[in-house]
């Protein structure tokens, strides 16, 4: 799909170990998928049998892992030249690209069919679409074609909580959409902050990151704009059935800190950033990880607190978007 991709023969260094196949599934990404899907599943109105819930989480994670393997198969040439990814199983010569592709395709089919059997057709369709979106739309097409790759590709990471929600309810609601938007809008500033201080890698791999195509000042502006655009979605979630005063208070503080960090990134010029080894950019990147984690913990906390009658009655006053 792209003329940048070159054929590289990876030297096989020996038989792969079990952990190399696990590494193909991107376990760290899977852990985030498990966490956000679990939150979506737990806060959705209605209930699943615990084993159905467990199966749903496992197969959503497996679907995410399958798309990770397909991504590693397609992007092996890029991974080989980037320091951060050079030790992945394919460029390291542990697993052949064909093995990774086969594993990805097999696990994609298995996870979608099993999620359908465990929960419902819509959840399975969303999982299939997520895998397609990440493997084909993002990896094969956008990543090498446009500097907006991160923006659109972020959708793939945003689907898991929606799938968790749909696994229980069988339908898409405002809450599911807001959880989606929270991750979708968070992804660009998170990755662009990373791209600012990992500048050599993407340039070397000829991936059209915003830092390479539009320059670092434009990237800093984009971080600020996206962080500001994230705020209304993060706060709106607090006024739905899954929100409440605890979520709102935390979301307000977290968004103000994130916005302050994005402002600090925008305000700096390259010379200052380079002089202190991108201290602010690294700090904002680290904070963005906590930002997302705490938002989802807060959603979970609201779900738990809703069992307290006194709190539930008080929290109802905040849920003005519940009518939708």
């Amino acid at each position: 799909m792209s003329d940048i991709r070159t054929n590289i023969d990876f030297v096989q260094t020996g038989d792969a170990e079990f952990r190399d196949y696990v590494a193909l599934l991107k376990p760290r990404v899977m852990s985030l998928v498990v966490f956000t899907a679990l939150v979506g599943l737990l806060v959705a109105p209605g209930s699943l049998h615990p084993i159905e819930g467990l199966a749903a989480i496992i197969f959503i994670a497996l679907g995410a892992g399958a798309s990770g393997a397909l991504n590693m198969w397609w992007d092996a040439d890029i991974d080989a030249v980037m320091k951060r990814t050079a030790k992945r199983p394919i460029p390291a010569g542990k697993v052949t690209p064909q093995e990774a592709m086969s594993l990805g395709v097999a696990l994609s089919g298995l996870s979608v069919i099993m999620l359908w059997l465990a929960t419902n057709a819509l959840a399975a369709f969303l999982l299939a679409f997520t895998i397609f979106f990440y493997a084909v739309i993002y990896s094969m097409w956008l990543k090498r074609a446009t500097p907006q790759n991160i923006v659109i590709g972020g959708a793939a990471g945003a689907f898991p909580p929606m799938i968790g929600w749909v696994a229980v309810t069988g339908s898409i609601s405002l809450e599911a959409c807001l959880m989606f938007m929270l991750i979708f809008m968070w992804t660009p500033p998170h990755f662009w902050a990373l791209a600012l201080f990992m500048k050599g890698d993407y340039h070397k791999a000829k991936v059209p990151m915003l830092t390479v195509t539009h320059g670092r000042k434009a990237t800093r502006t984009h971080i600020l704009v996206y962080t500001a655009a994230l705020l209304p979605f993060a706060l709106a979630a607090g006024f739905t059935s899954m929100g409440g005063p605890v979520y709102l208070a935390l979301a307000l503080v977290l968004n103000l800190i994130f916005l302050h960090g994005a402002w600090a990134i925008w305000w700096r010029d390259e010379a200052v950033a380079e002089a202190d080894n991108y201290r602010v950019e690294k700090r904002v990147f680290r904070f963005s990880l906590y930002y997302l984690f705490v938002h989802f913990v807060a959603i979970l906390a609201e779900g738990a607190l809703a069992h307290l009658p006194v709190y539930a009655e008080f929290a109802t006053k905040f849920k003005i978007l519940e009518v939708f």
Binding site: D15, E17, F18, Y21, P50, L54, A55
Partner: protein
């Protein structure tokens, strides 16, 4: 280097085989659990044991009361 029983290749393959066995057993257990959960619908399962049991007869009042 001669391929012996102690060769590193055997260790790697053994690790892969054990890993795959564990994954397959876990998958079987999950599908079994899922089947029980789907079939029982949250209620206790009762098997047919070749004699008439009113509690298993949908037309019987004891079935409707359970």
């Amino acid at each position: 280097m001669a391929i012996t029983r102690e060769h590193d290749l055997h260790k790697r393959r053994s690790g892969r085989n054990i890993g795959l066995a564990v994954v397959l057993l876990a998958f079987i257990a999950l599908v079994f659990g899922l089947t029980i959960a789907k079939v029982s619908g949250g209620n206790a399962l009762q098997a047919f044991d070749h004699s008439y049991r009113p509690v298993l007869d949908p037309d019987n009042v004891r079935f409707q009361q359970r």
